[in-house]
């Protein structure tokens, strides 16, 4: 058996051009397969990590996102009295009343315009989101025209540099810091003092109220109380669920796109593999006859040819994944149409994607190799030896 295995390997080596062409076809398919999975994974990871499950977001009923929501001051102060909220450092509940608006900014590279989230923050906003850390500079002083920008904004948009100012809502706002929120949606936001921003944008209402629960299990009770209060027209969601809902449409789109592409591509690659394997069987008819005459069994021949095809798949899969892994250094920045705002996320590769991609590559090798291998093993010794 070992002999046959090396026979298969050396065959691949002998027909280098064909091997390289077939394997590179498969590698491209695996590359596309892996990259789409990585993209969907990165998107979901970004939006799921954005929220924390102990935090509750309160927005206007059926508005779907903070951008469309409006919570007036009276309602916001009613929410402020929820007893289930944990208390902050100043003894008051850990709660932030926030404003979310979109402004148009120009991208650094293409110069095209995109919608960027401006978040008006209260004093507790940073405490409620421990994943957001100031990496350069400082936080804006309350009551001032100062803003702090997310890392993706600094990288991606014109004029977003520390110490410079941005002009919007008839005022110029000084950038006093850059924050790093890891791979979360906050990295694509600009934060400033909520009262200043509400004044500047002439928006008399908040967009959302965010607070942390003392006991995570209290959520259902808080939700039903807030939603049945006749004075309120609001709905409460766990922050994790809130952000997950926002990625749904795009994730679904990426998934449909990814799967239809992969199916189509794999047909191409399987066809390529099959052609190669059929040819390699046809070319070696006499050799197969000889092997059989020497006493190798049909099953061994079948395994040898299948192994050759699987090895092709393995080669393609490894190459495809190797190149796909470099994608992790790239960040994709695009508009999430559910929130109508810009979101930056990375390709993210994990073990399950690696395994899926390898399984897919081997699967292609198997499907491409099984028919030719069956043909090889089914040959009669005499006919095979007689073949010119």
């Amino acid at each position: 058996m070992g002999l046959l295995f090396f026979y298969s390997l050396r065959n691949l080596f002998t027909r280098r051009l064909t091997t390289v062409l077939t394997a590179s076809g498969m590698a491209l398919v695996v590359f596309v397969f892996a990259s789409i999975l990585m993209l969907a994974e990165g998107l979901q990871k970004t939006l799921v990590e954005t929220g924390s499950s102990d935090n509750v977001v309160v927005i206007r009923r059926s508005s779907g996102s903070e951008v469309q929501s409006g919570v007036d001051r009276v309602q916001a102060s009613i929410v402020e009295t929820v007893p289930e909220a944990t208390s902050g450092p100043r003894g008051r509940p850990l709660l932030a009343k926030e404003l979310v608006v979109l402004i148009t900014m120009e991208k650094r590279e293409s110069g095209s315009r995109a919608n960027v989230v401006i978040r008006g923050i209260s004093e507790d906003s940073f405490l409620l989101r421990p994943q957001v850390r100031v990496s350069v500079g400082r936080t804006p002083k309350p009551g001032s025209s100062e803003i702090i920008i997310g890392r993706s904004i600094e990288k991606g948009f014109q004029g977003a540099d520390l110490g410079k100012s941005l002009f919007f809502a008839m005022r110029s706002w000084t950038i006093v810091g850059v924050f790093d929120a890891g791979s979360t949606g906050f990295s694509s936001e600009i934060w400033g003092d909520v009262d200043q921003l509400m004044q500047a944008f002439r928006r008399p209402v908040y967009s959302s109220v965010l607070f942390r629960l003392r006991e995570s299990a209290d959520f259902d009770e808080v939700k039903s109380r807030l939603e049945s209060d006749p004075r309120l027209t609001l709905e409460a969601k766990r922050e994790t669920i809130y952000y997950k809902d926002q990625s749904e449409m795009m994730a679904k789109f990426l998934r449909i796109l990814g799967f239809s592409l992969t199916i189509v591509f794999s047909i191409g690659a399987v066809v390529g593999g099959m052609i190669t394997m059929y040819a390699s069987v046809a070319n070696r008819t006499r050799e197969i006859g000889t092997l059989r005459a020497l006493g190798f069994r049909r099953a061994s021949i079948l395994t040898a040819f299948l192994a050759e095809s699987l090895f092709l798949g393995l080669l393609g899969g490894t190459a495809g994944l190797f190149f796909a892994s470099f994608l992790q250094f790239f960040t994709v920045s695009t508009t999430n149409f559910q929130t109508f705002s810009e979101l930056a996320f990375r390709f993210s590769l994990d073990v399950s994607i690696t395994l899926k991609a390898m399984a897919f590559a081997l699967g292609m090798g198997f499907v491409g190799g099984i028919l030719p291998a069956l043909r090889a093993s089914g040959m009669e010794i005499v006919d095979a030896l007689r073949e010119a």
């Binding site: 051009l17 491209l28 148009t104 293409s110 944008f201 591509f265 190669t276």
Partner: protein, 384 residues
């Protein structure tokens, strides 16, 4: 003689030729579908008219403009008709039933968008009835709506349930027109908001302007923006095309990926086709040596190989093109909600043809070079 040789060679390995054909067919088909997706992305841009301008708040589209700008814009030199509207953002029963719905000033809007064909009697009823709405043909078909039906939308921007009576179904003048939109009276929205003492009254999302002469569009846009400079709601006026391109640009990253992938599929199939050609040529190296011995030149061999490769590629390509049309129909059934306008353009078919040609030529290059260059003795002495 040459042609016959090409045909004979094609039929030598029926299975291989068949598989290659099938591979090329699938690749050209998917290339066509991807190009169609891309052109569907640009549908709004394609459908835009050169003499329409859009004025919006310069902060971002989510900020409104006051209604009082209407008369001032109307007075700008070069502006013919002005209409206005809001993104209504209503949801029909549940989120997944998404469609675009706008509150517009109906009389001027229908005048500006003359490509929306609405029967005259329906139009008159629609204009008279404030609670009326009109929808596109495709949208009406999707939810099986008939004229006279009551439709309730749940507002996401404007809270509450909103009831409308369907008074008309418009169709597009050509296939580029989006027939899946929903229009309601801006006045109805505004009056209802006033009754509720909302802060969002007398606010307009965008103004749509028509200019008499498209050549003066840029100056007119500049004139409009100059009036409102340094006001609390500054405007940004651009041609409808630029406005729509702005939407495309929002998702340009995804668009780039699709564009890239559509070329990758061609590269994959080039590898497959080149592989099968190089295998055929390798098997026949002995025969080519005989040809050479008989005095046939390199050009002859090259034409023979290229002819075979091109034949396979073009046949597969034709199959792919023909299959694109039914495939696009199926695709539309699944993704119709994402792409209201989705059809295969002539340009796509041309691109498909060029791609097939490229595959055929590229697949033949390496094997040809090899068979022409190889010395006769070596070719004759070679085994398998």
């Amino acid at each position: 003689m040459l042609l016959r040789l090409v045909f004979r060679n094609l039929l030598r390995h029926k299975l291989r030729t068949g598989l290659t054909l099938c591979g090329i067919c699938v690749a050209i088909l998917s290339f066509g579908l991807l190009r169609t997706v891309i052109s569907a992305w640009y549908a709004g841009v394609e459908a835009s008219s050169a003499n329409r301008l859009i004025t919006r708040n310069s902060i971002s589209l989510t900020f409104p403009l006051p209604l009082s700008y209407l008369e001032r814009i109307r007075g700008v030199e070069g502006v013919k008709t002005v209409s206005y509207g809001n993104w209504f953002g209503g949801i029909y029963i549940e989120e997944k039933n998404f469609f675009a719905n706008f509150a517009v000033e109906p009389r001027t809007y229908l005048e500006l968008y003359s490509e929306y064909l609405l029967p005259e009697d329906q139009k008159q009823v629609f204009l008279r009835d404030r609670r009326a709405c009109i929808v596109g043909r495709k949208l009406a078909k999707r939810f099986d709506w008939k004229v006279g039906d009551l439709i309730t939308l749940r507002g996401t921007i404007f809270p509450g349930n909103w009831e409308f009576v369907l008074r008309g179904i418009y169709s597009g003048r050509d296939s580029r027109v989006d027939e899946s939109q929903f229009f309601l009276h801006w006045d109805y929205l505004n009056e209802s908001l006033k009754k509720r003492k909302s802060v969002m009254t007398d606010q307009v999302g965008i103004y749509i302007l028509s200019v008499a002469n498209p050549e003066h569009a840029a100056e007119t846009a500049e004139r409009v923006d100059r009036i409102f400079r340094n006001s609390y709601a500054e405007t940004l006026t651009e041609t409808e095309k630029a406005f729509q391109l702005g939407f495309v640009a929002l998702t340009e990253a995804i668009l780039m990926v699709i564009q890239l992938v559509s070329f990758v599929v061609i590269v994959i199939i080039m590898a497959v086709a080149a592989n099968s050609m190089s295998m055929s040529v390798r098997e026949r190296l002995g025969e080519y040596a005989v040809f050479k011995t008989l005095g046939f030149g390199g050009t002859y061999l090259a034409t023979m190989i290229l002819g075979e490769s091109l034949f396979i590629a073009l046949l597969g390509g034709t199959g792919g093109v023909l299959l694109t049309f039914p495939a696009a129909k199926i695709f539309l059934n699944y993704l119709g909600d994402y792409f209201p306008v989705f059809f295969v353009t002539g340009q796509t078919v041309i691109f498909q043809g060029l791609a097939a040609l490229a595959v055929g030529v590229a697949a033949a290059v390496l094997p040809t070079w090899r068979s022409v260059r190889i010395p006769i003795i070596q070719a004759l002495g070679r085994i398998g």
